[in-house]
Protein backbone atom coordinates (compact mmCIF):
# COMPACT_ATOMS: atom_id res chain seq x y z
CA UNK A 1 0.00 0.00 0.00
CA UNK A 2 2.68 2.40 1.10
CA UNK A 3 4.73 1.43 -1.87
CA UNK A 4 1.87 2.08 -4.25
CA UNK A 5 1.21 5.56 -2.87
CA UNK A 6 4.88 6.26 -3.18
CA UNK A 7 4.89 5.06 -6.76
CA UNK A 8 1.84 7.06 -7.72
CA UNK A 9 3.34 10.11 -6.02
CA UNK A 10 6.44 9.56 -8.06
CA UNK A 11 4.41 9.31 -11.24
CA UNK A 12 2.32 12.31 -10.27
CA UNK A 13 5.40 14.29 -9.48
CA UNK A 14 6.77 13.59 -12.95
CA UNK A 15 3.45 14.68 -14.46
CA UNK A 16 3.35 17.83 -12.39
CA UNK A 17 6.90 18.76 -13.22
CA UNK A 18 6.16 18.27 -16.91
CA UNK A 19 3.09 20.43 -16.57
CA UNK A 20 5.06 23.19 -14.89
CA UNK A 21 7.82 22.97 -17.47
CA UNK A 22 5.28 23.25 -20.28
CA UNK A 23 3.37 26.23 -18.91
CA UNK A 24 6.31 28.14 -17.45
CA UNK A 25 7.59 29.96 -20.57
CA UNK A 26 4.23 31.63 -21.07
CA UNK A 27 3.53 32.09 -17.37
CA UNK A 28 6.86 33.81 -16.75
CA UNK A 29 6.22 36.19 -19.63
CA UNK A 30 2.67 36.86 -18.50
CA UNK A 31 3.91 37.53 -14.99
CA UNK A 32 6.51 40.00 -16.21
CA UNK A 33 4.64 41.75 -19.00
CA UNK A 34 0.97 41.45 -18.04
CA UNK A 35 0.27 40.74 -14.36
CA UNK A 36 3.08 42.83 -12.94
CA UNK A 37 2.24 45.88 -15.10
CA UNK A 38 -1.29 45.90 -13.70
CA UNK A 39 0.01 46.02 -10.14
CA UNK A 40 2.74 48.49 -11.05
CA UNK A 41 0.31 50.77 -12.93
CA UNK A 42 -1.94 50.87 -9.91
CA UNK A 43 1.06 51.76 -7.74
CA UNK A 44 2.34 54.42 -10.12
CA UNK A 45 -1.08 55.99 -10.33
CA UNK A 46 -0.65 57.12 -6.71
CA UNK A 47 2.84 58.50 -7.27
CA UNK A 48 4.08 61.83 -8.53
CA UNK A 49 6.72 60.87 -11.05
CA UNK A 50 7.85 62.18 -14.43
CA UNK A 51 9.87 59.19 -15.72
CA UNK A 52 13.02 61.30 -16.00
CA UNK A 53 13.89 62.02 -12.38
CA UNK A 54 14.22 59.71 -9.41
CA UNK A 55 11.03 58.22 -7.98
CA UNK A 56 8.57 60.80 -6.71
CA UNK A 57 6.34 60.98 -3.70
CA UNK A 58 3.09 59.26 -2.76
CA UNK A 59 0.28 61.64 -3.65
CA UNK A 60 -2.88 59.63 -2.94
CA UNK A 61 -5.59 60.37 -5.49
CA UNK A 62 -4.02 63.60 -6.79
CA UNK A 63 -3.19 62.10 -10.19
CA UNK A 64 -6.76 60.97 -10.70
CA UNK A 65 -7.94 64.44 -9.75
CA UNK A 66 -5.46 66.13 -12.10
CA UNK A 67 -6.32 63.91 -15.01
CA UNK A 68 -10.06 64.05 -14.64
CA UNK A 69 -10.38 67.75 -13.95
CA UNK A 70 -8.20 68.56 -16.94
CA UNK A 71 -10.41 70.56 -19.35
CA UNK A 72 -9.05 68.49 -22.27
CA UNK A 73 -10.33 65.29 -20.78
CA UNK A 74 -13.97 65.93 -21.61
CA UNK A 75 -13.17 66.38 -25.26
CA UNK A 76 -10.97 63.29 -25.29
CA UNK A 77 -13.56 61.05 -23.67
CA UNK A 78 -16.34 62.54 -25.80
CA UNK A 79 -14.30 61.97 -28.95
CA UNK A 80 -13.58 58.38 -27.98
CA UNK A 81 -17.25 57.64 -27.40
CA UNK A 82 -18.36 59.39 -30.59
CA UNK A 83 -15.70 57.56 -32.56
CA UNK A 84 -16.52 54.14 -31.12
CA UNK A 85 -20.30 54.52 -31.41
CA UNK A 86 -20.11 55.93 -34.93
CA UNK A 87 -17.79 53.21 -36.16
CA UNK A 88 -19.81 50.44 -34.55
CA UNK A 89 -23.22 51.70 -35.71
CA UNK A 90 -22.30 52.72 -39.25
CA UNK A 91 -20.04 49.75 -39.92
CA UNK A 92 -22.54 47.24 -38.55
CA UNK A 93 -25.47 48.64 -40.50
CA UNK A 94 -23.52 48.71 -43.75
CA UNK A 95 -21.99 45.31 -43.09
CA UNK A 96 -25.39 43.76 -42.41
CA UNK A 97 -26.80 45.18 -45.63
CA UNK A 98 -23.75 43.93 -47.50
CA UNK A 99 -24.11 40.47 -46.02
CA UNK A 100 -27.77 40.35 -47.08
CA UNK A 101 -26.69 41.15 -50.64
CA UNK A 102 -23.91 38.58 -50.56
CA UNK A 103 -26.28 35.96 -49.20
CA UNK A 104 -28.28 35.99 -52.42
CA UNK A 105 -26.10 33.47 -54.23
CA UNK A 106 -24.43 36.17 -56.25
CA UNK A 107 -21.49 35.57 -58.52
CA UNK A 108 -18.04 36.68 -57.48
CA UNK A 109 -18.46 35.80 -53.81
CA UNK A 110 -14.88 34.59 -53.55
CA UNK A 111 -13.56 37.82 -55.02
CA UNK A 112 -15.75 39.86 -52.74
CA UNK A 113 -14.69 37.95 -49.68
CA UNK A 114 -11.05 38.58 -50.50
CA UNK A 115 -11.72 42.27 -50.91
CA UNK A 116 -13.83 42.48 -47.76
CA UNK A 117 -11.02 41.31 -45.50
CA UNK A 118 -8.28 43.27 -47.23
CA UNK A 119 -8.75 46.52 -45.22
CA UNK A 120 -8.62 44.48 -42.04
CA UNK A 121 -5.17 43.03 -42.84
CA UNK A 122 -3.77 46.32 -44.14
CA UNK A 123 -1.34 48.18 -41.89
CA UNK A 124 -3.38 50.96 -40.32
CA UNK A 125 -0.50 53.43 -40.46
CA UNK A 126 -0.31 53.03 -44.24
CA UNK A 127 -4.09 53.12 -44.69
CA UNK A 128 -4.35 56.29 -42.62
CA UNK A 129 -1.84 57.96 -44.91
CA UNK A 130 -3.79 57.27 -48.08
CA UNK A 131 -6.99 58.41 -46.39
CA UNK A 132 -5.39 61.80 -45.77
CA UNK A 133 -5.09 62.03 -49.52
CA UNK A 134 -8.54 60.57 -50.23
CA UNK A 135 -10.22 63.16 -48.04
CA UNK A 136 -8.24 66.07 -49.43
CA UNK A 137 -10.71 68.27 -51.32
CA UNK A 138 -8.13 69.15 -54.01
CA UNK A 139 -5.95 66.07 -54.39
CA UNK A 140 -8.43 63.31 -53.64
CA UNK A 141 -11.07 61.56 -55.73
CA UNK A 142 -13.81 63.34 -53.81
CA UNK A 143 -12.85 66.52 -55.71
CA UNK A 144 -14.73 65.04 -58.65
CA UNK A 145 -17.87 64.99 -56.57
CA UNK A 146 -17.30 68.49 -55.21
CA UNK A 147 -16.66 69.72 -58.75
CA UNK A 148 -19.89 68.24 -59.99
CA UNK A 149 -21.76 69.91 -57.15
CA UNK A 150 -19.97 73.15 -57.83
CA UNK A 151 -18.68 73.56 -54.29
CA UNK A 152 -15.29 73.53 -52.70
CA UNK A 153 -14.99 70.56 -50.39
CA UNK A 154 -14.08 70.87 -46.73
CA UNK A 155 -10.54 70.33 -45.46
CA UNK A 156 -11.42 67.61 -42.98
CA UNK A 157 -8.07 67.53 -41.23
CA UNK A 158 -7.82 71.30 -40.88
CA UNK A 159 -11.18 71.54 -39.19
CA UNK A 160 -11.60 70.93 -35.50
CA UNK A 161 -15.18 69.86 -36.11
CA UNK A 162 -14.50 67.46 -38.97
CA UNK A 163 -11.11 65.93 -38.12
CA UNK A 164 -12.67 63.30 -35.89
CA UNK A 165 -14.99 62.24 -38.72
CA UNK A 166 -12.01 61.69 -40.97
CA UNK A 167 -10.80 59.21 -38.36
CA UNK A 168 -14.24 57.63 -38.18
CA UNK A 169 -14.24 57.07 -41.94
CA UNK A 170 -11.12 54.88 -41.78
CA UNK A 171 -12.51 53.03 -38.81
CA UNK A 172 -15.64 52.23 -40.79
CA UNK A 173 -13.66 51.23 -43.87
CA UNK A 174 -11.55 48.80 -41.84
CA UNK A 175 -14.54 47.29 -40.06
CA UNK A 176 -17.27 46.95 -42.72
CA UNK A 177 -15.87 44.08 -44.76
CA UNK A 178 -14.72 42.23 -41.69
CA UNK A 179 -18.13 42.45 -40.03
CA UNK A 180 -19.94 41.55 -43.25
CA UNK A 181 -18.11 38.22 -43.43
CA UNK A 182 -19.27 37.42 -39.89
CA UNK A 183 -22.84 38.42 -40.73
CA UNK A 184 -22.75 36.34 -43.89
CA UNK A 185 -21.53 33.32 -41.95
CA UNK A 186 -24.39 33.89 -39.51
CA UNK A 187 -27.00 34.25 -42.26
CA UNK A 188 -25.85 31.04 -43.88
CA UNK A 189 -26.56 29.05 -40.74
CA UNK A 190 -30.15 30.30 -40.38
CA UNK A 191 -32.73 27.48 -40.60
CA UNK A 192 -34.40 27.34 -44.03
CA UNK A 193 -37.63 25.80 -42.71
CA UNK A 194 -38.32 28.88 -40.56
CA UNK A 195 -38.32 30.96 -43.72
CA UNK A 196 -40.58 28.60 -45.57
CA UNK A 197 -43.05 28.77 -42.70
CA UNK A 198 -42.77 32.56 -42.56
CA UNK A 199 -43.49 32.88 -46.26
CA UNK A 200 -46.82 31.16 -45.76
CA UNK A 201 -47.67 33.65 -43.03
CA UNK A 202 -46.70 36.93 -44.58
CA UNK A 203 -45.94 38.60 -47.85
CA UNK A 204 -43.83 41.34 -46.39
CA UNK A 205 -40.10 40.89 -46.70
CA UNK A 206 -39.62 43.61 -44.10
CA UNK A 207 -41.70 41.68 -41.57
CA UNK A 208 -39.67 38.53 -42.17
CA UNK A 209 -36.51 40.54 -41.72
CA UNK A 210 -37.73 42.33 -38.61
CA UNK A 211 -39.28 39.38 -36.82
CA UNK A 212 -37.21 36.48 -38.02
CA UNK A 213 -33.81 37.39 -39.42
CA UNK A 214 -32.95 40.12 -36.96
CA UNK A 215 -33.78 38.14 -33.80
CA UNK A 216 -31.97 35.09 -35.13
CA UNK A 217 -28.94 37.21 -35.95
CA UNK A 218 -28.90 39.01 -32.61
CA UNK A 219 -26.02 36.96 -31.16
CA UNK A 220 -23.81 37.94 -34.09
CA UNK A 221 -24.89 41.59 -33.89
CA UNK A 222 -24.25 41.62 -30.18
CA UNK A 223 -20.89 39.94 -30.40
CA UNK A 224 -19.66 42.21 -33.19
CA UNK A 225 -20.94 45.35 -31.49
CA UNK A 226 -19.21 44.69 -28.21
CA UNK A 227 -15.93 43.46 -29.65
CA UNK A 228 -16.02 46.29 -32.19
CA UNK A 229 -16.65 48.82 -29.44
CA UNK A 230 -13.78 47.55 -27.32
CA UNK A 231 -11.46 47.61 -30.31
CA UNK A 232 -12.64 51.10 -31.26
CA UNK A 233 -12.04 52.72 -27.87
CA UNK A 234 -8.41 51.62 -28.25
CA UNK A 235 -7.96 53.62 -31.46
CA UNK A 236 -4.44 55.01 -31.65
CA UNK A 237 -2.69 54.37 -34.97
CA UNK A 238 -5.08 56.42 -37.08
CA UNK A 239 -5.04 59.38 -34.72
CA UNK A 240 -1.26 59.30 -34.52
CA UNK A 241 -0.72 59.18 -38.28
CA UNK A 242 -3.59 61.37 -39.43
CA UNK A 243 -4.12 64.20 -36.98
CA UNK A 244 -2.05 63.71 -33.83
CA UNK A 245 -5.13 64.88 -32.04
CA UNK A 246 -5.23 68.13 -34.03
CA UNK A 247 -5.67 70.44 -35.80
CA UNK A 248 -5.79 72.05 -32.35
CA UNK A 249 -5.20 69.50 -29.61
CA UNK A 250 -7.38 67.72 -28.45
CA UNK A 251 -9.92 68.29 -31.27
CA UNK A 252 -9.54 64.76 -32.60
CA UNK A 253 -7.65 63.05 -29.78
CA UNK A 254 -8.85 59.76 -28.31
CA UNK A 255 -8.32 58.07 -24.96
CA UNK A 256 -5.28 56.00 -25.88
CA UNK A 257 -3.67 58.82 -27.84
CA UNK A 258 -4.07 61.07 -24.81
CA UNK A 259 -2.57 58.34 -22.63
CA UNK A 260 0.40 58.10 -24.99
CA UNK A 261 0.83 61.86 -24.91
CA UNK A 262 0.71 62.04 -21.13
CA UNK A 263 3.22 59.24 -20.73
CA UNK A 264 5.65 59.59 -23.60
CA UNK A 265 5.49 63.22 -24.66
CA UNK A 266 4.81 64.98 -21.38
CA UNK A 267 6.51 62.26 -19.30
CA UNK A 268 3.80 62.38 -16.63
CA UNK A 269 4.05 58.71 -15.63
CA UNK A 270 1.84 59.06 -12.57
CA UNK A 271 -0.96 60.86 -14.40
CA UNK A 272 -0.71 58.48 -17.34
CA UNK A 273 -0.96 55.50 -14.97
CA UNK A 274 -4.10 56.89 -13.35
CA UNK A 275 -5.50 57.32 -16.84
CA UNK A 276 -4.49 53.75 -17.74
CA UNK A 277 -6.03 52.26 -14.60
CA UNK A 278 -9.36 53.87 -15.43
CA UNK A 279 -9.12 52.53 -18.98
CA UNK A 280 -8.45 49.06 -17.62
CA UNK A 281 -11.51 49.24 -15.36
CA UNK A 282 -13.70 50.44 -18.23
CA UNK A 283 -12.66 47.74 -20.71
CA UNK A 284 -12.92 44.95 -18.14
CA UNK A 285 -16.36 46.24 -17.11
CA UNK A 286 -17.56 46.25 -20.73
CA UNK A 287 -16.30 42.73 -21.27
CA UNK A 288 -18.00 41.61 -18.08
CA UNK A 289 -21.25 43.30 -19.10
CA UNK A 290 -20.97 41.59 -22.46
CA UNK A 291 -21.42 38.20 -20.83
CA UNK A 292 -24.18 39.37 -18.52
CA UNK A 293 -26.25 41.09 -21.18
CA UNK A 294 -25.69 38.39 -23.74
CA UNK A 295 -27.79 36.07 -21.64
CA UNK A 296 -30.56 38.62 -21.19
CA UNK A 297 -30.98 40.21 -24.60
CA UNK A 298 -29.72 37.81 -27.10
CA UNK A 299 -31.87 35.21 -28.71
CA UNK A 300 -29.79 32.07 -29.01
CA UNK A 301 -32.54 29.77 -30.27
CA UNK A 302 -33.23 26.55 -28.51
Amino acid sequence: MGRRTKQSWKRNRAEWLTFLAFVSPNLVLFALFTYWPIVYSAYLSFMDWNLLTARGAFVELANYRVVFTDPQIRTVIGNTLIYACAVVCVAQALAFALALLLNRNVRGQVFFRTLAFAPHVTTTAAAALVWVLLLDPDLGPSSVLYNALGIHGPHFLASSKLALWAIVSIGVWKEVGFASIFFLAGLQTLPRDCYEAAELETDSGWKVFRHLTLPLMSPVVFFLSVSGFIAAIKAFDVVSVMTQGGPVYPASSTYVYHLYRLAFQEFRAGDASAFAVVFFVITVAITGLQFRLARKWVHYGD
Binding site: L20, V23, L101, R104, F117, V208
Partner: protein, 285 residues
Protein backbone atom coordinates in the same frame (compact mmCIF):
# COMPACT_ATOMS: atom_id res chain seq x y z
CA UNK B 1 -45.27 44.72 -55.37
CA UNK B 2 -43.81 41.39 -56.33
CA UNK B 3 -40.46 42.97 -57.14
CA UNK B 4 -40.56 44.82 -53.88
CA UNK B 5 -40.81 41.61 -52.00
CA UNK B 6 -38.01 40.04 -53.93
CA UNK B 7 -35.64 42.85 -53.09
CA UNK B 8 -36.16 42.80 -49.39
CA UNK B 9 -36.65 39.13 -48.87
CA UNK B 10 -33.85 37.60 -46.93
CA UNK B 11 -33.97 33.93 -47.73
CA UNK B 12 -32.22 33.10 -50.97
CA UNK B 13 -34.80 32.69 -53.68
CA UNK B 14 -35.04 32.76 -57.42
CA UNK B 15 -34.65 36.42 -58.24
CA UNK B 16 -36.04 38.40 -61.10
CA UNK B 17 -33.94 40.72 -63.17
CA UNK B 18 -34.50 44.17 -61.59
CA UNK B 19 -33.78 42.98 -58.07
CA UNK B 20 -30.71 41.09 -59.25
CA UNK B 21 -29.54 44.30 -60.87
CA UNK B 22 -30.02 46.22 -57.64
CA UNK B 23 -28.12 43.59 -55.70
CA UNK B 24 -25.22 43.76 -58.12
CA UNK B 25 -25.30 47.55 -58.13
CA UNK B 26 -25.05 47.51 -54.34
CA UNK B 27 -22.21 45.02 -54.43
CA UNK B 28 -20.28 46.86 -57.10
CA UNK B 29 -20.62 50.12 -55.19
CA UNK B 30 -19.39 48.45 -51.99
CA UNK B 31 -16.49 46.84 -53.81
CA UNK B 32 -15.48 50.18 -55.29
CA UNK B 33 -15.58 51.86 -51.88
CA UNK B 34 -13.54 49.06 -50.28
CA UNK B 35 -10.98 49.04 -53.08
CA UNK B 36 -10.70 52.79 -53.64
CA UNK B 37 -7.97 53.41 -51.00
CA UNK B 38 -5.81 50.64 -52.50
CA UNK B 39 -6.36 51.96 -55.99
CA UNK B 40 -5.59 55.54 -55.01
CA UNK B 41 -2.46 54.48 -53.17
CA UNK B 42 -1.15 52.56 -56.19
CA UNK B 43 -2.26 55.30 -58.60
CA UNK B 44 -0.59 58.10 -56.66
CA UNK B 45 2.60 56.07 -56.24
CA UNK B 46 2.92 55.98 -60.03
CA UNK B 47 2.14 59.60 -60.80
CA UNK B 48 4.73 62.23 -61.55
CA UNK B 49 4.96 65.06 -59.02
CA UNK B 50 3.26 67.41 -61.49
CA UNK B 51 0.38 64.95 -61.93
CA UNK B 52 -0.08 64.63 -58.17
CA UNK B 53 -0.51 68.38 -57.84
CA UNK B 54 -2.86 68.68 -60.84
CA UNK B 55 -6.43 69.73 -60.20
CA UNK B 56 -8.74 67.94 -60.64
CA UNK B 57 -6.72 64.75 -60.04
CA UNK B 58 -6.51 62.25 -62.87
CA UNK B 59 -7.74 58.66 -62.48
CA UNK B 60 -4.96 57.14 -64.51
CA UNK B 61 -1.31 58.21 -64.65
CA UNK B 62 -0.43 59.85 -67.96
CA UNK B 63 2.97 58.19 -67.62
CA UNK B 64 3.98 55.54 -65.11
CA UNK B 65 6.67 57.04 -62.90
CA UNK B 66 8.28 53.87 -61.57
CA UNK B 67 11.24 55.89 -60.32
CA UNK B 68 9.04 56.91 -57.36
CA UNK B 69 9.70 53.47 -55.92
CA UNK B 70 13.45 53.95 -56.23
CA UNK B 71 13.19 57.40 -54.64
CA UNK B 72 11.05 56.08 -51.80
CA UNK B 73 13.54 53.28 -51.18
CA UNK B 74 16.27 55.91 -50.89
CA UNK B 75 14.21 58.36 -48.84
CA UNK B 76 14.40 56.07 -45.81
CA UNK B 77 16.34 52.87 -45.02
CA UNK B 78 13.55 50.56 -46.15
CA UNK B 79 15.89 47.60 -46.55
CA UNK B 80 16.69 47.85 -42.87
CA UNK B 81 13.02 48.31 -41.96
CA UNK B 82 12.18 45.14 -43.87
CA UNK B 83 14.84 43.19 -42.01
CA UNK B 84 13.57 44.53 -38.67
CA UNK B 85 9.93 43.76 -39.41
CA UNK B 86 10.60 40.29 -40.79
CA UNK B 87 13.10 39.20 -38.13
CA UNK B 88 11.18 40.46 -35.11
CA UNK B 89 7.81 39.41 -36.57
CA UNK B 90 9.00 35.89 -37.37
CA UNK B 91 10.79 35.49 -34.04
CA UNK B 92 7.87 36.72 -31.94
CA UNK B 93 5.43 34.58 -33.95
CA UNK B 94 7.56 31.44 -33.59
CA UNK B 95 7.90 31.92 -29.85
CA UNK B 96 4.19 32.62 -29.50
CA UNK B 97 3.33 29.40 -31.29
CA UNK B 98 5.91 27.24 -29.48
CA UNK B 99 4.95 28.54 -26.04
CA UNK B 100 1.25 28.23 -26.87
CA UNK B 101 1.71 24.65 -28.08
CA UNK B 102 3.40 23.67 -24.83
CA UNK B 103 0.88 25.43 -22.65
CA UNK B 104 -2.22 24.30 -24.54
CA UNK B 105 -1.00 20.70 -24.51
CA UNK B 106 -0.36 20.88 -20.77
CA UNK B 107 -3.84 22.27 -20.13
CA UNK B 108 -5.55 19.73 -22.38
CA UNK B 109 -3.65 16.58 -21.53
CA UNK B 110 -1.50 16.67 -18.38
CA UNK B 111 -3.07 16.35 -14.93
CA UNK B 112 -2.28 19.07 -12.45
CA UNK B 113 -4.09 20.29 -9.36
CA UNK B 114 -5.65 23.74 -9.83
CA UNK B 115 -5.25 23.60 -13.59
CA UNK B 116 -8.59 25.31 -14.17
CA UNK B 117 -7.59 28.37 -12.16
CA UNK B 118 -4.34 28.77 -14.09
CA UNK B 119 -6.19 28.42 -17.38
CA UNK B 120 -8.62 31.10 -16.30
CA UNK B 121 -5.76 33.40 -15.31
CA UNK B 122 -4.23 32.93 -18.76
CA UNK B 123 -7.46 33.38 -20.72
CA UNK B 124 -8.37 36.49 -18.74
CA UNK B 125 -5.23 38.26 -19.99
CA UNK B 126 -7.13 38.66 -23.26
CA UNK B 127 -9.37 41.18 -21.49
CA UNK B 128 -6.47 43.33 -20.39
CA UNK B 129 -5.82 46.15 -22.85
CA UNK B 130 -2.21 46.37 -24.03
CA UNK B 131 -2.48 50.12 -23.60
CA UNK B 132 -2.65 49.70 -19.85
CA UNK B 133 0.75 48.01 -19.80
CA UNK B 134 2.64 50.64 -21.77
CA UNK B 135 4.21 52.64 -18.96
CA UNK B 136 5.24 49.75 -16.68
CA UNK B 137 6.57 47.70 -19.58
CA UNK B 138 8.54 50.63 -20.90
CA UNK B 139 10.08 51.13 -17.47
CA UNK B 140 10.87 47.42 -17.18
CA UNK B 141 12.48 47.37 -20.61
CA UNK B 142 14.59 50.40 -19.93
CA UNK B 143 15.82 48.77 -16.71
CA UNK B 144 16.75 45.68 -18.73
CA UNK B 145 18.46 47.98 -21.30
CA UNK B 146 16.21 46.45 -23.94
CA UNK B 147 14.85 49.70 -25.34
CA UNK B 148 16.02 50.04 -28.95
CA UNK B 149 16.89 46.35 -29.24
CA UNK B 150 15.22 43.42 -30.98
CA UNK B 151 14.44 41.97 -27.55
CA UNK B 152 11.91 44.74 -26.97
CA UNK B 153 10.07 43.80 -30.16
CA UNK B 154 10.29 40.04 -29.65
CA UNK B 155 10.04 39.09 -25.98
CA UNK B 156 7.04 41.00 -24.55
CA UNK B 157 4.73 39.92 -27.41
CA UNK B 158 6.04 36.32 -27.28
CA UNK B 159 3.34 35.26 -24.81
CA UNK B 160 -0.21 35.61 -26.01
CA UNK B 161 -3.37 33.98 -24.70
CA UNK B 162 -5.17 33.83 -28.05
CA UNK B 163 -3.11 31.01 -29.63
CA UNK B 164 -3.22 29.17 -26.29
CA UNK B 165 -7.00 29.39 -26.32
CA UNK B 166 -7.35 28.29 -29.95
CA UNK B 167 -4.93 25.38 -29.60
CA UNK B 168 -6.44 24.29 -26.30
CA UNK B 169 -9.88 24.13 -27.93
CA UNK B 170 -8.40 22.02 -30.68
CA UNK B 171 -6.41 19.68 -28.44
CA UNK B 172 -9.49 18.83 -26.43
CA UNK B 173 -10.98 17.26 -29.54
CA UNK B 174 -8.07 14.83 -29.90
CA UNK B 175 -9.32 11.33 -28.99
CA UNK B 176 -7.82 10.21 -25.64
CA UNK B 177 -7.29 6.69 -26.99
CA UNK B 178 -4.66 8.07 -29.30
CA UNK B 179 -2.75 9.58 -26.40
CA UNK B 180 -3.11 6.45 -24.27
CA UNK B 181 -1.75 4.31 -27.07
CA UNK B 182 1.23 6.60 -27.38
CA UNK B 183 1.73 6.47 -23.63
CA UNK B 184 1.69 2.70 -23.63
CA UNK B 185 4.38 2.80 -26.27
CA UNK B 186 6.44 4.66 -23.71
CA UNK B 187 6.39 8.07 -25.40
CA UNK B 188 6.84 11.08 -23.13
CA UNK B 189 4.67 14.18 -23.32
CA UNK B 190 7.16 16.16 -25.34
CA UNK B 191 7.48 13.38 -27.90
CA UNK B 192 3.70 12.97 -28.14
CA UNK B 193 3.35 16.71 -28.65
CA UNK B 194 6.04 16.95 -31.31
CA UNK B 195 5.40 13.72 -33.18
CA UNK B 196 1.65 13.24 -32.93
CA UNK B 197 -0.30 16.27 -31.78
CA UNK B 198 1.53 19.13 -33.47
CA UNK B 199 1.47 17.49 -36.94
CA UNK B 200 -2.25 16.84 -36.54
CA UNK B 201 -2.83 20.47 -35.63
CA UNK B 202 -0.93 21.81 -38.62
CA UNK B 203 -3.89 23.65 -40.23
CA UNK B 204 -4.79 25.29 -36.92
CA UNK B 205 -1.14 26.16 -36.34
CA UNK B 206 -0.85 27.76 -39.75
CA UNK B 207 -3.96 29.88 -39.21
CA UNK B 208 -2.86 30.92 -35.72
CA UNK B 209 0.66 31.73 -36.84
CA UNK B 210 -0.59 33.91 -39.69
CA UNK B 211 -2.79 35.91 -37.34
CA UNK B 212 0.11 36.31 -34.91
CA UNK B 213 2.44 37.46 -37.68
CA UNK B 214 -0.19 39.86 -38.98
CA UNK B 215 -0.46 41.38 -35.52
CA UNK B 216 3.30 41.83 -35.25
CA UNK B 217 3.67 43.26 -38.75
CA UNK B 218 0.97 45.89 -38.28
CA UNK B 219 1.77 46.75 -34.67
CA UNK B 220 2.29 50.45 -34.23
CA UNK B 221 2.06 51.73 -30.66
CA UNK B 222 4.54 49.37 -28.99
CA UNK B 223 7.35 49.68 -31.58
CA UNK B 224 6.76 53.43 -31.67
CA UNK B 225 7.57 53.60 -27.98
CA UNK B 226 10.46 51.14 -27.73
CA UNK B 227 12.43 52.15 -30.82
CA UNK B 228 14.39 55.40 -30.96
CA UNK B 229 17.18 54.91 -33.48
CA UNK B 230 16.25 54.84 -37.16
CA UNK B 231 17.95 51.47 -37.67
CA UNK B 232 15.65 49.80 -35.14
CA UNK B 233 12.35 50.92 -36.65
CA UNK B 234 9.85 48.52 -38.16
CA UNK B 235 8.08 49.35 -41.43
CA UNK B 236 5.00 51.14 -40.01
CA UNK B 237 7.17 53.27 -37.73
CA UNK B 238 9.58 54.05 -40.54
CA UNK B 239 6.66 55.14 -42.71
CA UNK B 240 5.34 57.30 -39.91
CA UNK B 241 8.65 59.16 -39.59
CA UNK B 242 9.05 59.46 -43.35
CA UNK B 243 5.67 61.19 -43.46
CA UNK B 244 7.02 63.92 -41.21
CA UNK B 245 9.84 65.00 -43.55
CA UNK B 246 8.51 63.96 -46.94
CA UNK B 247 6.14 66.31 -48.72
CA UNK B 248 5.84 64.39 -52.00
CA UNK B 249 2.70 62.27 -52.00
CA UNK B 250 3.85 59.97 -54.79
CA UNK B 251 6.94 59.02 -52.76
CA UNK B 252 4.89 58.54 -49.59
CA UNK B 253 2.41 56.31 -51.38
CA UNK B 254 5.19 54.21 -52.87
CA UNK B 255 6.54 53.85 -49.32
CA UNK B 256 3.08 52.87 -48.06
CA UNK B 257 2.95 50.19 -50.75
CA UNK B 258 6.27 48.85 -49.44
CA UNK B 259 4.68 48.54 -46.00
CA UNK B 260 1.49 46.79 -47.01
CA UNK B 261 2.51 44.66 -50.01
CA UNK B 262 4.07 41.69 -48.16
CA UNK B 263 1.02 41.33 -45.92
CA UNK B 264 -1.44 41.73 -48.79
CA UNK B 265 0.53 39.14 -50.78
CA UNK B 266 0.55 36.72 -47.86
CA UNK B 267 -3.16 37.30 -47.35
CA UNK B 268 -4.07 36.66 -50.97
CA UNK B 269 -1.88 33.54 -51.04
CA UNK B 270 -3.17 32.05 -47.79
CA UNK B 271 -6.61 33.61 -47.62
CA UNK B 272 -8.41 30.58 -46.25
CA UNK B 273 -6.05 30.24 -43.29
CA UNK B 274 -6.20 33.96 -42.62
CA UNK B 275 -9.97 34.10 -42.52
CA UNK B 276 -10.15 30.92 -40.49
CA UNK B 277 -7.56 32.20 -38.04
CA UNK B 278 -9.28 35.53 -37.56
CA UNK B 279 -12.78 34.15 -37.22
CA UNK B 280 -11.86 30.99 -35.30
CA UNK B 281 -13.29 30.84 -31.84
CA UNK B 282 -14.63 34.36 -32.18
CA UNK B 283 -18.27 33.47 -32.72
CA UNK B 284 -18.18 30.70 -30.17
CA UNK B 285 -16.43 33.05 -27.76
Amino acid sequence: MATDRQITRIAPAGSCIPSALLVYAGLVFSAVMLALPFFWMALTSLKSSAAVAAYPPSWWPSEFTWSNYRDAWNAAPFGRYYINSVVTGAAATSLQIIFALLMAYAFAVIRFPGKGAILLAVISTMMIPDEMKLVPNYILLSRLHWVDTYWALIIPPAAHAFPVFVLYQYFRTVPPDLLDAAHVDGAGHLRILIQIIAPMARPVLAATALVAFLGRWNDFLWPLIVTNRTVMRTLPIGLNYLKENEGRWNILMAAAIYVIIPMIGLYVAAQRQFVEGITRGALKG
